[in-house]
C-alpha cells in the first residue's frame, strides 16, 4: 500500500466538505463505526462536483478522497460500474487485505448517492 499517500490524504483531505442541493449518499461500517457521507452534483450524466464528510481510519478517508478526485467529469454510469479493485489500485492496496472494507466505504457512499436519482 502507498502509505505515504494514504497518511498524507488522511491528514489533509482535499475533498472534505458538503455541497448544498446535491445528491447525497451514505455508508457505514458497523464493525468500527466509520461513516462516510458524500454529496455529488451531476450534469448531463456526468459527475461535476463532489465532496465528503464523516469519520474513518486513514484508509477509509484517503481512499474516499482519492476516489472523489478521480470521478470528477466521469460518466455517472461509469462510476456506478467501478469495481472495488479500482479503489485498491488508487491506494496500492492488495485486494485480499483484511482492510478492504475500510477502502470501499467511500465507493459505496458514492454509488448510493448516484443511485438516488436512477
Amino acid at each position: 500500500m502507498n502509505k505515504d499517500l494514504v497518511i498524507s490524504r488522511y491528514k489533509n483531505p482535499k475533498n472534505f466538505g458538503v455541497i448544498k442541493d446535491s445528491l447525497v449518499g451514505e455508508s457505514v461500517n458497523y464493525s468500527c463505526g466509520d461513516e462516510i457521507k458524500v454529496s455529488i452534483k451531476q450534469t448531463d450524466g456526468e459527475v461535476k462536483e463532489c465532496k465528503f464528510n464523516g469519520t474513518g481510519c486513514s484508509i477509509c478517508i484517503a481512499s474516499t478522497d482519492l476516489l472523489l478526485d478521480s470521478i470528477k467529469n466521469k460518466k455517472t454510469n461509469e462510476v456506478l460500474n467501478l469495481p472495488n479493485s479500482y479503489i485498491f489500485n488508487l491506494i496500492g492496496m492488495e485486494s485480499e487485505s483484511a482492510r478492504w472494507r475500510c477502502a470501499t466505504l467511500g465507493l459505496e457512499a458514492v454509488k448510493s448517492a448516484l443511485h438516488s436519482v436512477k
Binding site: 464493525s31 468500527c32 463505526g33 474513518g56 481510519c57 486513514s58 484508509i59 475500510c102
Partner: protein
C-alpha cells in the same frame, strides 16, 4: 515447579514454529499447548465412539473420558461434576439461560439487570426476550474504577425490589480488564431472591475461580480463551437450580423415557442433547488440568500486566489507557484510528485487536469510536511487551 516462561512458551506449537510472532490477542482466543492437542488427537485415535450409547468396550472408554472431562472442568471452578454441562461457548451458555429464564423464570413486569460493560453476548439474549415478554432491562453503571457500581445496584433494588429476578454480568471486562466484585453483588442479590449469572469468559484463564465462594447461580465460560479448543464451553449451575429447570434443547441421550411420560435424565445429562463435542470437552478438561498444574502463573501475569501498564503509561505519545493494570489493556490515541493502530502493529508481526471488541454500548458510553486492545496470555514475555512499546513509535506519523 516454579514458573519458567521459556518452558511454558515451548509447549505451544504455533508459537514455537513462529518465534518472531508477538501474539497479544489472548482475550480474543488463546493458543493451544501440545498437551491439549494431544488429548484431542488421542481421543480420536484410541477412544473414538459415541457417548452414553454403546455397550462395547470402546464406547465405555469414550464414556469414561467424557465423564472425566465433566469432573475436571467442575473441579477447575470448584463445582460438583453434576453441576456442569458442555455447550458450544459462553455465548451459547448465556443464550441457554436467557431462553430458560424467558420460559421458566420470568414473567411480565420483571426486571433483568445487566451492566454497561457487557459483551454483546450478554446484551442481545436479554434484549431479545423483550420481543416476546414485557420485561424491563436495566444497565448497571460503572464507578470511577470502571467496575460495576454497587451503589447503583442498591438503588435499583430500592426501586424494583423483588421484581429484579436476574442480574447477568461479566466477571472480567473484555475491554477494560477490570474484575467486578461478584461476591458483593451475589450477597445483595440474595436479600431480594434475584439470581446471578456470571460471564467468566475473560476471567477463567486469569483468576482462580471458585463458584461456591462467588455464590453465583450460573457461571459460563468458553474453552478457547483458556488454552482449550474452540467450539466448546461450560455452563455451571447450582445443583438445586439446575434440578428444577427443564431443558431447552431436546433430543437423543438426554432422556430416559419417551412414551406418554417423558422422563429426562439426571444432571447434568438432561442438558446435553444429541452427540456432544466429545473431543472438545476432553481438550478443554486437559487445558483446565494443565493450567492448574502451573505454579506461579497468577503472579507472573500480574507482574507482566504491571510492566505493560507502566511502559505504555510512560510512552511519549498521545496514548490514553482506558483502565487499570490488567491482562487486558485497551487504549486510544489522538487522531489515530484503532484499525490503523492494529494494522501498523500487524506489519511488525504483532497481533493486537481493534474496534469495539463486541462491546459497542460500552464504547458509546466512553464516547470513543473503538479502541485498540492488548491482551496477555500465559506465554507472553517482557520481550513481547517491549516490542509492542517500540511499535507505538510507528504511530507518531498519524498523530
Amino acid at each position: 515447579m516454579s514458573f519458567d516462561i521459556n518452558q511454558i512458551k515451548n509447549q505451544f506449537p504455533l508459537l514455537k514454529g513462529n518465534p518472531d510472532l508477538v501474539y497479544l490477542d489472548s482475550a480474543s482466543t488463546t493458543h493451544k499447548p501440545k498437551v491439549v492437542l494431544n488429548a484431542m488427537n488421542d481421543f480420536y485415535i484410541s477412544s473414538n465412539a459415541n457417548v452414553h450409547r454403546g455397550l462395547y468396550d470402546l464406547s465405555h472408554k469414550a464414556d469414561t473420558s467424557w465423564i472425566d472431562a465433566h469432573r475436571k472442568v467442575a473441579q477447575f471452578i470448584n463445582a460438583l461434576p453434576e453441576e456442569v454441562f458442555f455447550v458450544k461457548n459462553a455465548t451459547e451458555g448465556i443464550n441457554w439461560f436467557a431462553q430458560t429464564a424467558r420460559d421458566q423464570i420470568l414473567k411480565e413486569g420483571d426486571v433483568v439487570v445487566i451492566t454497561q460493560m457487557e459483551h454483546h453476548s450478554n446484551i442481545l439474549p436479554w434484549s431479545a426476550i423483550q420481543q416476546r415478554l414485557d420485561i424491563q432491562l436495566e444497565r448497571l453503571m460503572l464507578n470511577k474504577d470502571s467496575r460495576v457500581d454497587l451503589d447503583h445496584l442498591t438503588e435499583l433494588f430500592g426501586k424494583y425490589g423483588e421484581r429484579i429476578k436476574i442480574i447477568s454480568l461479566a466477571h472480567m471486562s473484555n475491554v477494560l480488564g477490570v474484575t467486578n466484585d461478584v461476591k458483593s453483588i451475589t450477597k445483595l442479590a440474595r436479600k431480594y431472591g434475584a439470581m446471578v449469572l456470571v460471564d467468566g469468559t475473560q476471567s477463567v484463564a486469569h483468576l482462580s475461580v471458585d463458584v461456591k465462594e462467588l455464590d453465583c447461580d450460573i457461571f459460563v465460560f468458553s474453552g478457547h480463551k483458556m488454552y482449550g479448543p474452540t467450539g466448546i464451553g461450560v455452563v455451571y449451575g447450582k445443583r438445586n437450580i439446575l434440578e428444577n429447570l427443564d431443558p431447552v434443547w431436546q433430543g437423543g441421550e438426554m432422556v430416559d423415557n419417551v412414551s406418554e411420560n417423558v422422563v429426562f435424565k439426571n444432571l447434568p445429562w438432561k442438558f446435553e442433547a444429541g452427540t456432544p463435542n466429545i473431543a472438545g470437552g476432553i481438550g478443554l478438561a486437559k487445558a483446565a488440568e494443565w493450567l492448574n498444574s502451573i505454579e506461579g502463573r497468577f503472579e507472573y501475569e500480574k507482574e507482566l500486566s504491571n510492566y505493560l501498564y507502566l511502559a505504555i503509561s510512560k510512552h511519549p505519545s498521545s496514548v490514553k489507557v482506558l483502565s487499570q493494570p490488567s491482562s487486558i489493556l485497551s487504549f486510544v490515541m489522538d487522531g489515530v484510528h484503532a484499525h490503523d493502530i492494529a494494522s501498523e502493529f500487524n506489519e511488525l508481526g504483532i497481533c493486537i485487536r481493534s474496534g469495539y471488541h463486541c462491546a459497542q454500548p460500552l464504547h458509546e458510553k466512553l464516547k470513543i469510536k473503538g479502541s485498540a486492545r492488548v491482551s496477555l496470555g500465559i506465554y507472553n514475555t517482557k520481550g513481547d511487551v517491549d516490542k509492542f512499546i517500540q511499535g507505538l513509535d510507528q504511530l507518531k506519523r498519524y498523530e
